[in-house]
């Protein structure tokens, strides 16, 4: 039997929970983004967006889902010290307490940007033609079809010269952006489920302010 590679030790230096506006998703409960700031032997301080953030929809999490996600991943790694906090070993119970404190004291997207000099963004990308007539999954969506979302945000999209594909980076500091990004991502997830020609990208990133051009920011902080 082959010996698995040793896990990379990670040191969590900071954490932040971003509260998203009410009615961002179809659920009535509060929704958050969770970002850990980690260093490893190979990297300097890097943000890690927690949750399913690999093109399976956006990692908008209710508090209980975030705790569950932490239990299934990072809290487990504290047991053998693969994950430490500020350079020290920590028990999983105390680690969860740190995140509960962060959930109890969330930042708005704007506050997060000011504190960390990073902008919470939603990135959506994929082929345009297969998407246009995909219909909404939820009646709470403000967009009946993807083409309605495209009409709203086309001037902010980067579109291939042959119109075959698009990429849109939404600044989540904008009041409607979290909600619009959520429902738009559902079109892309539906397209994936239906195996429409892809690939499709749905993700949350937190690039440094100035690292990314966001032409639709009219009153940037």
């Amino acid at each position: 039997m082959t010996t698995p590679a040793a896990p990379i030790a990670t040191d969590e230096r900071d954490r932040s929970v971003i509260s998203l506006p009410p009615q961002t998703t179809l659920y009535s409960s509060d929704t958050f983004l969770a970002i850990a700031f980690d260093t490893t032997a190979n990297t300097t301080l890097q943000p890690t967006v927690l949750g399913p953030n690999n093109n399976e929809g956006l990692p908008y999490l209710q508090d209980w889902r975030l705790i569950g996600h932490l239990c299934n991943r990072r809290a487990i790694a504290t047991v053998d010290g693969t994950l430490s906090v500020a350079g020290k070993r920590i028990t999983p119970e105390r680690y969860l307490k740190l995140w509960r404190d962060a959930i109890a004291n969330p930042l708005t997207p704007d506050q997060f940007a000011r504190r960390y000099d990073r902008i919470p963004c939603a990135t959506l990308a994929g082929p345009l033609a297969p998407l246009r007539d995909v219909t909404r999954s939820y009646t709470t969506s403000p967009f009946t079809r993807f083409r309605d979302f495209e009409a709203r945000y086309r001037d902010q999209m980067q579109i291939a010269a042959d119109e075959s594909s698009f990429e849109l980076v939404l600044d989540l500091r904008q009041p409607d952006a979290p909600r619009h990004a959520y429902y738009a991502s559902q079109f892309l997830v539906t397209a994936q489920i239906r195996k429409l020609p892809g690939p499709y990208t749905t993700s949350i990133t937190v690039p440094r302010t100035g690292q990314i051009a966001l032409p639709y920011i009219r009153n940037a902080a």
Binding site: R65, I67, C71, A75, I76, E93
Partner: protein, 183 residues
């Protein structure tokens, strides 16, 4: 929506010095955690919720805690309750820590190895440690007679330290001491 209820807990300790030295350990004790558990929405003939004893965690202390955290995740969303009451993941982890601290010595009547993977293509089926010298499959008595070194080496190999993933009840069963009362 139904949820899982834990009713009772027992922890057994296998003395590490009895295992012979496994690779990468120093005669570390092994634990077997047996939990009486059952779904909230299934009732027996006496209108009592059905429940059964299961080996839910197995391995070293750290391995058991990692497996525990995976279960504890279900507490936060209310899908796992202790004796029908809400429980935080932290509280669940602490509960398992306490029973590990007071674990009783393992006996043959309390538990036994019983490797029964879910799928036919699980690589454990062809692991040489599953076989007797004559090439036939090891049975429960073989594990106890030959020492539990190979058994816990298999547990070590199948425990995923990244996810705490190990389906403990496919590796061991409660012994005759743990018989569920009829429902």
């Amino acid at each position: 929506m139904s949820y899982q209820i834990d009713y009772n807990y027992h922890a057994l300790r296998v003395d590490g010095t009895e295992l012979d030295q496994l690779p990468n350990d120093q005669h570390e004790d092994r634990f077997v955690v047996i939990i009486e558990t059952g779904p909230s929405n299934c009732y027996g003939h006496s209108n009592r919720r059905v429940r059964d004893w299961q080996v839910c965690m197995i391995g070293t202390h750290d391995q058991v805690i990692q497996q525990t955290i995976r279960f504890a995740a279900e507490c936060e969303g209310g899908m796992l309750k202790v004796r029908g009451r809400d429980c935080t993941p932290e509280s669940y982890i602490r509960r398992i820590r306490r029973i590990l601290a007071s674990a009783e010595p393992a006996t043959d009547t309390a538990w036994h190895p019983h490797i029964a993977p879910y799928t036919d293509d699980d690589p454990i089926h062809t692991d040489p440690r599953m076989l007797r010298p004559d090439g036939t499959l090891r049975q429960t008595a073989d594990w106890h007679r030959d020492g539990l070194r190979d058994f816990f080496a298999l547990v070590d190999d199948h425990h995923d330290p990244d996810t705490g993933g190990l389906i403990a009840w496919t590796f061991a069963k409660p012994g005759s001491r743990f018989q569920s009362s009829p429902c």
